[in-house]
């Protein structure tokens, strides 16, 4: 029936704001609104409208307020906006404050059983959620879920989302299971019909088809990381549940079961073990890496704290392992469900004594996939732990991202000697710098040659891995590890000059999930007549490009989501002669960065605000 709606309540001629709004859906945690919110977001994506979705949720299972923010923008800018133009209010507890925070000229859709003082400068549409439920009569156990589809239907009618897009979005969501799709569509249809008959369009917001879905997919960073790991030839993961990293391991298990079952025996060509704690999780991953697995673990800051002991061992004993840190707000338990980039300095030097860790910094969901497979290669080439630092925003939120690319390099296992190699070479010492590149050769347990065995330890050892407290042996080994870290500069992803301003003497340096906000901020600054160059870091240690960039600019603003300017500190250490050129633009309130904040802040410190 609703298929014949000729789009609905929207007269496109009247709609003056097309595909450009920030919609905030306020619900109660645990009420099952995620399906509804993703249905809306996926519909925008399928209509080819640039969009993003961000879930602001409490550390709670049921009862506390939660918000889902969907932004659309015709120019492709989808960072979080500080103010919103469309509110969908389903929670009595927050409806008034959510409404009060809206921009003038905004719109509120609200469940009509809520008590709220409406604003004259905000268009309001009531939604008769309870009446619609009485009409649709969903099974009792699905009532809460289905009730959320009331706002999907009404908003679709008022914005002009075709019914077919919602139907297909739900089919994707439920992976083709038609029963839940039909149940949800029942409510959507009822709500759309009700809106068409009862509501008069009074606001300017509308959606219209674009082509921004071409060559793009919709996926969260943790799933992307899991898939990247699978295409990296993962064989082992040990993990322990923690927000916001759990879904990485869970998706790993889900997709490994899809793609890595031996067709002849039905058995697994991988092992994923849920450990008793993060010490065991990384311990298992290190044991597997030592034995020759493509091995990883995934966690967040508190887990990294527990892992630091064994990471120090893996560093000293030169064992490849990949460790994902989906960063959340610290210190301590901090804000478990809010994002941050606060683990940079901690991981850079993780371990007691002199330790230098290799860190990859994905700046998009697409790079979560790419670094997922690449991290194994880097770890095995260097024989050292490799950290990949994502964050809650990148990891748990669903993003529209360019299609992933199939790995363009074969799997690289680094310097591993076989039984035949040993036979040919006639001798073997685990930590000998045979090639002069600071990277030694290793053998795997089970290698059928009497020369293969060696004794792995975190204690002092000579080049043949034999226990040694000899001062010269110790210094020789530490010096080699320092040289090995220098080698890492060439093996990790190079930074990208994302924006080259017109003769700009101001540089922006950033990394990770802030990219989307910075891209938009650069455009805002250009509107204000301020040209900037923007360099996006993708790994630590830095390549020489980073030093060049700093030297080329009078002032470099390091934009990051922590309080202390952690990356700025590292850059200052890297470029001591230019240290005073590096300045921090830090925002660390737990929310994804907003472009307006960056632009206003930068204009202010540049004296142009």
């Amino acid at each position: 029936m609703s298929d014949s709606h000729p789009n609905l309540n929207v007269n496109q001629a009247q709609a003056s704001v097309v595909n450009d709004f920030s919609m905030i859906v306020a619900t109660v945690n645990g009420s099952g609104s995620q399906t509804a919110n993703l249905a809306l977001m996926r519909s925008f994506f399928r209509m080819g409208i640039p969009t993003s979705g961000k879930n602001l949720f409490p550390s709670n299972i049921q009862g506390l307020p939660t918000w889902f923010i969907i932004r659309t923008n015709p120019n492709g800018f989808t960072a979080r906006r500080e103010k919103h133009n469309i509110l969908i209010a389903m929670n009595q507890e927050t409806v008034q404050s959510d409404l009060d925070a809206l921009e003038p000229g905004a719109v509120i859709y609200y469940a009509d059983h809520l008590t709220v003082d409406l604003r004259e400068d905000v268009t309001s549409y009531p939604i008769p959620v309870r009446d619609l439920l009485r009409t649709v009569k969903p099974p009792r156990e699905y009532r809460d879920y289905i009730s959320n589809m009331a706002y999907v239907g009404v908003v679709a009618a008022m914005l002009g989302i075709p019914r077919q897009e919602l139907q297909e979005a739900l089919e994707t969501h439920f992976q083709g299971r038609m029963k839940p799709v039909e149940m949800n569509m029942g409510m959507i249809d009822a709500a759309m019909d009700w809106a068409v008959q009862n509501l008069q369009k009074k606001d300017p917001f509308a959606v219209s088809v674009m082509d921004h879905d071409e060559g793009r997919i919709m996926i969260d960073g943790n799933t992307a990381a899991a898939l990247g790991s699978i295409f990296g030839g993962i064989t082992f993961s040990g993990w322990y549940p923690i927000t916001p990293a759990s879904s990485l391991a869970e998706q790993l298990q889900y997709y490994l079961a899809e793609m890595r079952i031996d067709p002849d025996t039905g058995k697994r060509t991988y092992a994923v073990v849920q450990a008793e704690d993060e010490l065991a999780a990384v311990g298992m991953a290190i044991g597997a890496g030592w034995a020759g697995a493509r091995s990883m673990t995934s966690t967040s800051g508190p887990g990294i704290c527990l892992m630091s002991e064994l990471v120090g061992l893996a560093y000293a004993a030169e064992i490849p392992v990949v460790i994902w840190d989906v960063q959340r707000m610290g210190p301590s338990t901090g804000l478990p469900t809010r994002t941050s980039q606060g683990d940079i300095l901690f991981i850079r030097y993780l371990g007691h004594g002199d330790t230098n860790q290799v860190m990859l910094l994905p700046g998009s969901v697409k790079e979560c996939f790419e670094f997922g497979w690449r991290a194994f290669d880097v770890a095995e080439l260097l024989q050292t732990p490799v950290f990949v630092l994502s964050d809650l925003d990148l990891g748990m939120n669903v993003w529209v991202t360019e299609d992933f690319e199939y790995p363009d390099e074969p799997i690289q296992r680094g310097k591993v000697l076989s039984a035949e190699d040993l036979e040919r070479l006639g001798s073997f010492g685990r930590y000998r710098d045979v090639d002069g590149d600071a990277i030694p050769y290793r053998t795997l347990p089970g290698t059928d040659n009497p020369m293969a065995g060696y004794f792995t330890r975190g204690t002092g050892h000579d080049e043949d891995a034999i226990y040694s407290e000899d001062p010269d042996e110790w210094e020789l080994n530490m010096e080699r590890l320092t040289r090995k870290y220098e080698r890492a500069r060439e093996l990790v992803p190079a930074p990208i000059l994302e924006v080259e301003g017109n003769g700009a003497d101001i540089g922006i340096i950033s990394y990770g999930s802030t990219d989307v906000a910075i891209q938009e901020a650069v455009a805002l600054l250009q509107e204000q007549g301020l040209e900037v160059d923007y360099l996006r870091l993708r790994a630590i240690p830095f390549s020489t490009d980073v030093t060049d960039f700093v030297e080329l600019h009078a002032r470099c603003y390091v934009v990051e989501m922590n309080t202390d300017g952690q990356m700025r500190q590292l850059l200052q250490l890297e470029t001591p002669a230019c240290a005073s050129r590096l300045r921090s633009l830090c925002k660390n309130d737990g929310l994804p960065l907003a472009a307006t904040w960056i632009a206003e802040r930068l204009l202010a410190v540049e004296g142009r605000g």
């Binding site: 879905d213 295409f231 039905g266 311990g283 064994l310 795997l444 347990p445 792995t456």
Partner: protein, 350 residues
Amino acid sequence: MMMERTAAKQDQRTNVNTIGLSKADYRGRPSTLCQGCGHNSIANQIINACYEASVSPEHLIKLSGIGCSSKSPAYFMSRSHGFNSLHGRMPPIATGALMANRELKAIGVSGDGDTASIGIGHFIHMLRRNVPMVYIIENNGVYGLTKGQFSATADKGQVLKTGINPFMPVDLCLEALAANCGFIARSFAGDPKQVKELIKAALSYRGTAVLDIISPCVTFNNRDESTKSYTWGKQHEDPLHDVTWVPVRDEISLDYEPGEVKDVEMHDGSRLRLKKLDQDYDPTSRSEAMRMLDKAYQEHILVTGLIYFNKAQPSLQETEQMIDEPLIALGADVARPNHAQFDDLLASFR
């Protein structure tokens, strides 16, 4: 008894075992532990056991945590890959290694500080998962490497330089039993034959085999009244049975009289032959094992031998339904899904 030794005799003549290796091929580096340390005796019995059971050194990994005990893997089987990990953390390292390559055999050597204190969580979870390895605890009731502090297995009322221990000891065999371990044995470093036979049997077991071996610390805890001393051990050892491991290749039946002998069959078909002493103890009964351990705990008796045995439990690799070949042997074509799978995957996110 006589005929069981036929194979060994033959070996002595040629000085090699059935895989052509001599005892020297199982040796390690010289020990740096104290003279007379029980741990050295255990290291020697590991060498003897692996030699006699014809274990390939290249296909065995030896692992440890931190402490005097954990140094000892350096003192046996230099041809094997070894991993001296961190205090209490050997079980996860072993778990990962054995999941990566399920063809490896593993011997873990730990101590009472390593297992009963800092690593007890990992110990319990290793047992819960049934990680296939021989897990030896060289138990001396004292921290030796840090010079003489009480460990969690020290006797209540025990006197050391640091004072009197006010706490009841942790009984690691009881803990293992509670954690559903399927191979639990206790022995005494001063009884090398029993230690050796139990290690051989443990090597044939497909699951975690726990050997709690009382191993006196001659420097810090060898007072006669300590239950972890040589004198006490010699005086209070109460073997449940005389144990002999019978390899699978040894087809010849032995000359025990019926009624005196109980065989427990290992996963590879070899058997641990328990010759009855004066008691009638059934190591396949969990409740009997619990009762016996508790009685010995209360009465301060060092009961040695095979305390509990259950072959029916799946190893972690079986539970995880892993392919038979080692994961590290996977070809890149299997490890990395193909282009078609990649395209299907992308399509599912549109």
